[in-house]
Symmetry: C2
Subunit: 445 residues, 2 copies
């Protein structure tokens, strides 16, 4: 939740970007929860000074926050965990950013300890790569606190962690192991983490339990699901129907859709190349098919992201009319595109899970086909109903797009129905319950 | 060995670049060996048509060889194994290069089978990343041949192999497992390979033995050593003494030396930045210390290498007189610099072993200090006598250079003496013998 000011000076609340914020909001609404977060806007900082039931916003020193957020978390950790560094040249590591990261984590930890003073039986749920050090700080003060940490990004293998100097990568692993439970979206990231605990900390690993520093941490893999009720409601909402009418009025016979933040991990440039290559190989499809790319401009405070957006725009321009590129943030338009795709392209270089590969097929109205990167976390679940692509193999992606566009109707319907049945069973509630069950297991022990 | 023509039309033989060719030549001279290689020069092709005792040069079709050597082996496999791809943009995979790689490997395999027909009891030693598929082809024709493969480059973890489409990475692993023995320079690369056999092929791993496709392959780690006798002779050779006199006449009080091919894996740009940063922090050293970089221009048929050399030259220019950059191939000058360094910088991003980190300390005459990347294979052996650096941490490298330049004389002497004792015991002969012993073990089984 981010706070701002409306045109008449009234306070506004806006939904955080991406599916994760939605998923977490659902979880938070079902429990008596306090949400501890950094203040990001000016209005956030005003809210931080007030007493808010259920929300604690922490004011961080501006320069520290900048280094924490726009240097250390993004791009340093994000790029390391998605294997995006161009290692011959970058990163060029900066101790100052690490110190700021630790300091912001320490302040988050102090706020967490204060909440535990208010409610000593509360469980703490840390989210993601911004807070790897906070659990260590909380654990020092509250040895018996019940703590869980969910990592939403890929966990790379040990050698990829060598972009951090030794002490820092040890601190990252030790920070996560200060929790009782650490969760990942797929077994692949869990496996990498468990191996890393051995390689980096010489910890003892027994099945899914890591022993380190006299403590035991259970490492689990629970892919997040979608809030099916939310999407059931959204598909017929006025905003989405409006956007869908516009889309239907202008769409060609066949539509390849991608919906992404403009993040280098999303592999947008290679996606355009694959689409162009597919058209070259199958000129009979020219005019009958278009690629619609709805891209949310992401992290434009970071030079690598500015450069990437420029590369994306150049590549789209090169394809002319065949591509309809829309840069902006319009969730209703995204859902309309989810309904209208014939092929959804998710070709991420690496992706922790990729919620769009679940949201879009769930609401699709055209028996659309999912083309899915083998390096997206959701591939472990959805691969059998998708056409699998290697994200680096542009030629293979071109072939997959063609196969998807020309798949037999019954085959398309069968795949989509089975995929949807999976999404209904394995939804965001299940994800929440599995995490609660993990912690209950720890409590009993 | 590469053949050429001298000024009077006479045939010349030149030593292959790098320490590896020297090390292997030593091994070959001690045994009754046939050396099978691709013809690389016009004169090689002439030799290929003649009958040469001990050498079989194979002529490959030009376009195939170009794709094999300058696309698939370098940069595709080399960059993948050194984790140098800028994955948001490169590689952009090309099936044609893979087909050419397979075809060149198949031709090498046919020549190997022909040699086995001549001498059925011979053992086959495959070298490095150019020949991952050849063992599969030889094994098909000669199920009982005794085959060993040594990989001189790093073996990255499973996710890094995803730059190859699935079938291709399976072929790489299966190709190596067609051998009886697979060798690496360090336990780190061996560990990654063993894990990869499980991840990529679902092979069974029991200790250092992999079971796959009904066969057992032993995976060993033997770091290559240097030919100490060769270097004992070189240090007082006229050519080296000439070069050393020139160097001594122009050197300042303190000399930081690096000797490398201009390969992005060598991390030359960050090395200059670290040296510059060290001078900024310690201006009292300006004028007293210079960095001498002897760089062999490498693989200039490949765009990434042309760009990297340009980046290296820009970075050196920015440091002015503080850096003496020499681009060229002059082995006697390199050995002279080995003798004259006060600090040797080896800060490789990743390196299979790094022979220079052994050769240079072995002949050094000034109790010089080795600053060594934790990602160089030789670090597992030499780390305790070196100052360890993280290759991405420029600031840490600047600190290490300063610590090396100001180390106490006794401490420097002790480290260098212990390091040398290790090199004398663990020399290239030992490496050869350990490989022979591995194969003898297979033969007995």
């Amino acid at each position: 939740m981010t706070y701002g000011r409306g045109p008449n000076g009234e306070r506004t609340e806006s939904r955080g970007g991406g599916g994760l914020a939605t998923a977490l909001r659902g979880l938070v609404e079902q429990h008596d929860t306090t949400w501890i977060a950094n203040a990001m806007t000016d209005e956030d900082r005003v809210v931080a000074g007030e007493e808010q039931r259920g929300t604690v916003l922490i004011e961080q020193e501006e320069r520290q926050y900048e280094l924490f957020y726009n240097v250390m978390a993004n791009p340093t950790l994000w790029f390391a965990q998605h294997m995006l560094w161009n290692l011959a040249f970058t990163p060029d590591f900066d101790d100052e950013a690490w110190t700021a990261y630790a300091s912001v984590n320490a302040k988050m930890a102090r706020a967490t300890v204060a909440e535990l003073d208010r409610d000593p039986a509360a469980a703490v749920f840390f989210q993601d790569y911004h807070l790897y050090l906070a659990p260590t700080f909380v654990r020092r003060d509250r040895p018996d606190a019940l703590m869980s940490h969910f990592v939403h990004v890929p966990w790379p293998e040990t050698d990829a962690w060598s972009v951090l100097p030794e002490q820092q990568r040890r601190d990252v692993f030790a920070g996560l192991l200060a929790n009782d439970v650490v969760g990942f979206h797929t077994d692949r990231w869990r496996r990498n983490f468990l191996r890393g605990c051995v390689d980096v900390l010489a910890a003892r690993v027994d099945g899914e339990v890591v022993e380190h520093d006299g403590r035991r941490t259970r490492v689990t893999a629970h892919p997040i699901g979608i809030d099916t009720a939310e999407f059931d409601g959204l598909v017929d909402s006025e905003a989405v129907l409006d956007r869908e009418r516009e889309l239907v009025a202008s769409r060609p016979e066949l539509l390849v859709v991608r919906v992404d933040r403009t993040d280098p991990s999303k592999n947008i440039v290679r996606g355009f190349r694959a689409f162009g290559s597919m058209l070259e190989r199958h000129p009979e499809l020219r005019g009958r098919v278009r690629m619609l790319a709805l891209l949310d401009p992401s992290r434009q405070d970071i030079p690598e992201y500015v450069d990437y957006l420029a590369a994306v725009e150049r590549e789209a321009d090169a394809l002319g009319d065949a591509v309809d590129l829309r840069v902006g943030d319009d969730f209703a338009r995204s859902v309309a595109a989810y309904k209208q795709f014939d092929v959804l392209l998710v070709n991420a270089v690496f992706d922790g899970l990729n919620l769009i590969s679940k949201e879009a097929p769930y609401v699709n109205a055209r028996d659309g086909v999912l083309v899915l990167s083998e390096n997206a976390g959701s591939h472990a679940e959805l691969g059998e109903w998708a056409l699998t692509v290697n994200p680096f193999d542009v030629s293979g992606q071109a072939d997959a797009l063609y196969a998807a566009l020309t798949m037999e109707p019954e085959e398309k319907r069968r795949r989509l129905e089975e995929l949807r049945a999976h999404l209904r069973t394995h939804d965001v509630r299940e994800w929440g319950e599995l995490q609660m069950a993990d912690l209950d297991g720890v409590r009993r022990r």
